[in-house]
């Protein structure tokens, strides 16, 4: 009996979704024209294709920012338990920061920080 209800629910779910789509497909008038088919951009006329490429530099900056952003977030809980753990905690967070610094140095030398 339990399974019957499960099956019933599954069936109903499918029927509901499928039925809705089917009804809209059957009932809705479908009269596309050029204007309607255009992408909607806040009522403005579209200029050029909507698939423009953004400068990859944005992403690189964002990534670098994210890395150090998360680092900062990570340092708060670390600060909370710092007293308990003592020197070893200092050492470990040192490794953590040095690794991130490596990343910064690498990115810097690769020219990521220079805007092209």
């Amino acid at each position: 009996m339990d399974y019957f209800f499960v099956a019933l629910f599954v069936g109903m779910a499918f029927a509901l979704v499928g039925g809705g789509l089917a009804i809209s497909y059957l009932v809705a008038p479908n009269r596309p024209n050029k204007v309607k088919s255009q992408p909607y951009e806040c009522g403005e006329h579209t200029v050029g294709p909507s698939w423009v490429h953004f400068n990859v530099g944005y992403y690189l900056f964002a990534l670098l920012f994210l890395v150090f952003d998360v680092e900062a977030a990570f340092l708060y809980p670390w600060a909370l338990v710092f007293r308990e753990f003592g020197l070893i905690a200092l050492f470990e967070v040192g490794i953590f920061i040095v690794i991130l610094l490596f990343a910064l140095v690498y990115a810097w030398k690769k020219g990521v920080l220079e805007w092209v």
Binding site: V81, E84, F85, I88, I99, F102, V105, Y106, K109, K110
Partner: protein, 481 residues
């Protein structure tokens, strides 16, 4: 917090640390003018150092870092598999990268980081650490798949792998969260100890969680229906990367699955029926779809899916013997699959090649040794005695029969006989097909030769003297019981 259980012992992590140091050194040297050429050497050095440390750790059982890191026989054996895969794929990579003019130091660093992630995955009882390891492994892999930056197919491979990989990781993490919800712990040892009370209190959370975890790793090992990325990614990625892909992440996925399913959730017997279906699907779909491929890389992609299916059989059966057989198979698979890919890489270093079957014609008369080695690897993949592939399958399927999974064994044997056909096509193309144009000469060098020797010795040695290796895998499994 009680610091006495911390056991912060950095020697425990020496293999991982050596990989990390070498990886960073490669990256930092790589941005200097003169340091670009150190990538290969430093990478190899890092891997060999890590291998040495791992071998040294063999036989110990130590837990450290608040129980987050565990080094036991199991992790050691897996780490050896990862490192071997890394070394072999590195040996074959340089020639290829140079030929394709993409020899950048980042390649070696990425391989090192990826292996570091795998090692982390294999060395922990904690789901969170396993997940972190998985991400450390995966992110470099996404980049590696797209490493051939100016080749659209390689780009496509990278993007596809990344998107589906991220998708799968999401499921995995969600599964871990559900399991945590059921038992308020992510430590597999605690889960194993309190399994029954957890199953009583929150069965739905627990079962859904395990299902999602299974899916997450099912993606990594290429189990059907989470396999569809594999052919495209294998075909598109640079060949040495594909070689690494076909072994490393797969083994890592199985390492995690074995720890989770055969230790943490060992008492969850119902999972067997799900694994049974996955194993059958994976073997059948992998083998059948491999039958009529024109591209060898694509064929090997489906074949690697099928091989994951065999190991899933071992996982389905469960228990010491079966899991040890899976481990043994993985070890053998590392050798013979990498060997096959090594030869494919060597062939692909030539210009204008696309790993098609037709490109193999006439190879036997031009390069008899290479062709013979390829035949050996193919026979091993097909499971011919006396190769490692034969014993692996024998061990897995006889384990399945012993465990009462007779149908699983029959289906497995049948599908593996189907597989003979497509592996044989490679041999036929090499040896028994008239060449309409002369075979384009390939250049050998000591690194390639070394990679071939290691893989060939491994594939045959594991088959001729399987005893000690089987013992090794049994010890490895026993170490976490």
């Amino acid at each position: 917090m009680n610091l006495s259980g911390a056991n912060i012992d950095f020697t425990l992590l020496l293999p991982e640390i050596s990989l990390a140091i070498c990886g960073f050194a490669i990256l930092l040297l790589g941005v200097t003018k003169r340091g670009k050429d150190f990538g290969f050497g430093l990478g190899l050095f890092g891997l060999i150092a890590a291998l040495a440390f791992t071998v040294q750790q063999w036989g110990t059982l130590e837990t450290g870092f608040f129980g987050m890191v565990t080094k036991d026989g199991f992790s050691s054996l897996y780490n050896i598999i990862f490192l071997l895969a890394g070394i072999i794929s590195l040996l074959i990579a340089q020639t290829y990268l140079r030929a394709k003019k993409i020899d950048k130091p980042e390649y070696y660093a990425l391989v090192l980081f990826s292996i570091l992630g795998m090692m982390v995955m294999a060395s922990s009882y904690d789901l969170i650490i396993i997940f972190i390891g998985l991400e450390i492994m995966s992110i470099p892999l996404y980049v590696l798949a797209g490493f051939h930056r100016f080749n659209p197919k390689s780009n496509e491979a990278g993007i596809k792998y990344f998107i589906i990989g991220a998708f799968a990781s999401g499921f995995l993490l969600y599964g871990i969260a559900l399991v945590y919800g059921a038992g308020a712990t992510t430590d597999l040892r605690l889960i194993a100890a309190n399994y029954h009370s957890m199953a009583q209190q929150a069965p739905l959370l627990l079962y859904a969680g395990v299902a999602l975890i299974l899916i997450g790793f099912g993606f990594k090992v290429g189990a059907v229906p989470f396999h569809m990325w594999a052919p495209d990614v294998y075909q598109g990625a640079p060949t040495p990367v594909t070689a690494f892909f076909s072994v490393g992440p797969k083994a890592a996925g199985f390492a995690a699955l074995m720890r989770i399913l055969d230790f943490g959730f060992d008492s969850m017997d119902e999972i067997q029926s799900v694994l049974w279906i996955l194993a059958v699907l994976t073997m059948a779909v992998g083998n059948i779809l491999a039958l009529f491929q024109d591209n060898i890389k694509r064929m090997l992609a489906y074949s690697s899916i099928a091989h994951a299916g065999y190991i899933l059989v071992a996982l389905t059966v469960g228990g010491e013997g079966a899991v040890a057989s899976g481990l043994y198979y993985l070890l053998g698979y590392t050798f013979f699959n990498l060997g096959a890919f090594a030869i494919l890489t060597i062939l692909d270093t030539r210009d204008g090649t696309d790993s098609r079957f037709s490109e193999l014609t006439g190879m036997a008369s031009r390069h008899p040794f290479l062709a013979t080695l390829l035949a050996i690897f193919m026979f091993s993949l097909a499971g011919f005695p006396p190769t490692a592939g034969f014993f692996g399958k024998l061990y897995i399927f006889s384990g399945a029969v012993e465990g009462g999974f007779i149908w699983l064994a029959i289906i497995g044997v049948m599908t593996s006989f189907v597989s003979v056909y497509y592996y044989l096509r490679v041999v036929v193309a090499c040896f028994f097909t008239k060449a309409d144009h002369p075979f384009q000469q390939v250049a050998m060098n000591p690194y390639l030769a070394l990679a071939l020797i290691i893989t060939a010795v491994g594939a045959l040695g594991l088959g001729l003297f399987p005893s000690s290796w089987i013992d090794l895998s049994r010890q490895a499994f026993a170490s976490f019981l």
